[in-house]
Symmetry: C2
Subunit: 312 residues, 2 copies
């Protein structure tokens, strides 16, 4: 174990989109922009900033185009947005984005529930968007949900995952992010899925998207790294990822991921202290504590340090 | 990776002691007994039930002897208590316990702060207790704190850890639990420490005690398993472990550990559903939510299921 650790890992930040789309509190466009810029200041180079889904479904991100046009970011930061269909694609393109992120499910039941299409139908629809986007020179990422377990079907077969990945490779998607939508995966399963995918797709094009619902996210990251994956999705403070209830956890927190990677001598280009500042800003904007463990421990330690100084 | 996973792992439950000693709320002896019995009903075979530390320091566990004498447990459950010195040992022995758990630190600064002794002095004092206990046919476990990092010194050298383990082996301690007291360890470090210990002690006598302060506990367990350790400490619902502040996490939650192990096909003898019942009881007794992720997700999912039924 750990004989071939990568020197560097790419952290793909999903908080501004996956996080904020699940929040009921209204966040001003200017505040979203400030949050994204704070994330970029911490050194994140891949940020999903919004979605171009109908505001009927996700009113929280109805200001996607305004967010994109208001951002001032270092030139080496790549931003992208979630896009469900051609209409969304046109809006994303009009906003000036150079990367869009598509999504579908590995399990039939989740696909039906989420977008009312079978997996095969979802791939066909996606091909229309992908063809247009590739012609426009866009970079394409695709999230695959329910790779490790489905909330309706339970365990998902590896052959179902292989079929979806084959379909996405055929379409020409540049990067595929395999998602543990309900945070049920374990490290052995991660290894088994990745072993099955070897040869089907270059692992440089593969990302892993873990949820920390049951505390296993970083253990799964370790299995991913050992298997040769070097792109991991995470969310500032653990924002979003459809947690069941207040207090339950969804997305893997970016700070937890970066803390572990740096400890293992793996570079990310991210400054953990600045990341905590961004997390504190997110908590302020949302008016609540986020579930990320490093963030909580760090902010509690800082508060304690301040209280001590105050008492002396 | 994962070519030699163990068939079985021992989970050592520290919640009733490490958890309750950090709680300000008064818990009745009968409630402590009910909690320990609930933990045993879930299948835990190794439970640290209390401590025999001066009630001046830990008034929460002043009823240690009453707890031990009131317990009704299956014959294959081993209970033990934390013991700081000869006086505590005599009290533990008088209570009828067959195992005691000692403790010391790997770092000088933590040792001084915690028990006002150097590490060498701590080993000498421990030898007195150990000699008496071994003569009485007791089983001896020893916790080593600050193995991976010290809150006062920062990183702890592997040579300091080796020295302590050598001292404990010489004393005749049966089991040594290596603790990540402030939850700062990472999987690479875990592997490096264990590689250095190979040959010095049989790994069957080694346990790992991780804290989830920064979300890394299960990732560290994976590194421990890969390195050949098969005993892991954890705490019901993540109780205790000196978290910095409300909301921050201390001990690795037993449910999170068991969930991951079972998912990887590793037996524990524990029934996860009964464990959640015990966790719910702990929350009720303490009047607050515990930080364990599986517990939170599971209780939230159950509450949701109930609400649904209610609405129909």
């Amino acid at each position: 174990m750990f004989d071939n650790l990568p020197n560097e890992v790419t952290v793909f930040e999903v908080g501004p989109r996956d996080g904020l789309q699940n929040e009921s509190k209204h966040i001003e466009t200017a505040d979203k922009v400030a949050l994204i810029e704070a994330v970029a200041r911490a050194g994140l180079k891949q940020i999903e900033v919004t979605s171009f889904v109908s505001p009927k479904w996700i009113p929280q991100l109805a200001d996607g185009a305004q967010v994109v046009s208001a951002l001032t970011l270092p030139a080496d930061v790549s931003i992208s947005a979630l896009v469900p269909n051609l209409k969304g694609y046109e809006a994303a393109k009009a906003s000036g984005l150079k990367q869009i992120n598509l999504f579908l499910s590995a399990s039939e039941a989740h696909s039906k529930k989420n977008i009312n299409k079978s997996v095969a139908e979802a791939i066909n629809t996606m091909k229309e968007v992908a063809d247009a986007a590739l012609q426009d020179g866009m970079r394409l990422r695709c999230y695959v949900s329910t790779v490790f377990a489905c909330p309706y079907e339970g365990p998902v077969s590896i052959s179902a995952v292989l079929k979806v990945v084959e379909g996405l490779v055929a379409i020409g998607v540049h990067e595929i992010s395999l998602g543990d939508t309900i945070g049920a995966a374990n490290p052995l399963q991660v290894k088994q899925v990745l072993d099955a995918l070897r040869g089907l797709i270059s692992f440089e094009r593969l990302a892993l998207h873990f949820h920390d619902t049951r505390g296993t996210a970083l253990a799964n990251v370790v299995a991913g790294i050992e298997s040769g994956v070097t792109i991991f999705d995470s969310s500032l403070g653990g924002l979003g990822g459809c947690p069941y209830a207040p207090g339950a956890s969804g997305n893997l927190a970016t700070e937890d991921l970066v803390y572990m990677l740096h400890g293992m001598g793996i570079r990310t280009g991210i400054d953990l202290s600045s990341l905590v500042e961004a997390g504190a800003l997110a908590q302020k904007l949302l008016g609540k504590e986020l579930p990320g463990r490093y963030l909580r421990a760090e902010l509690a330690a800082r508060a304690k340090a301040c209280a001590k100084v105050g008492a002396e």
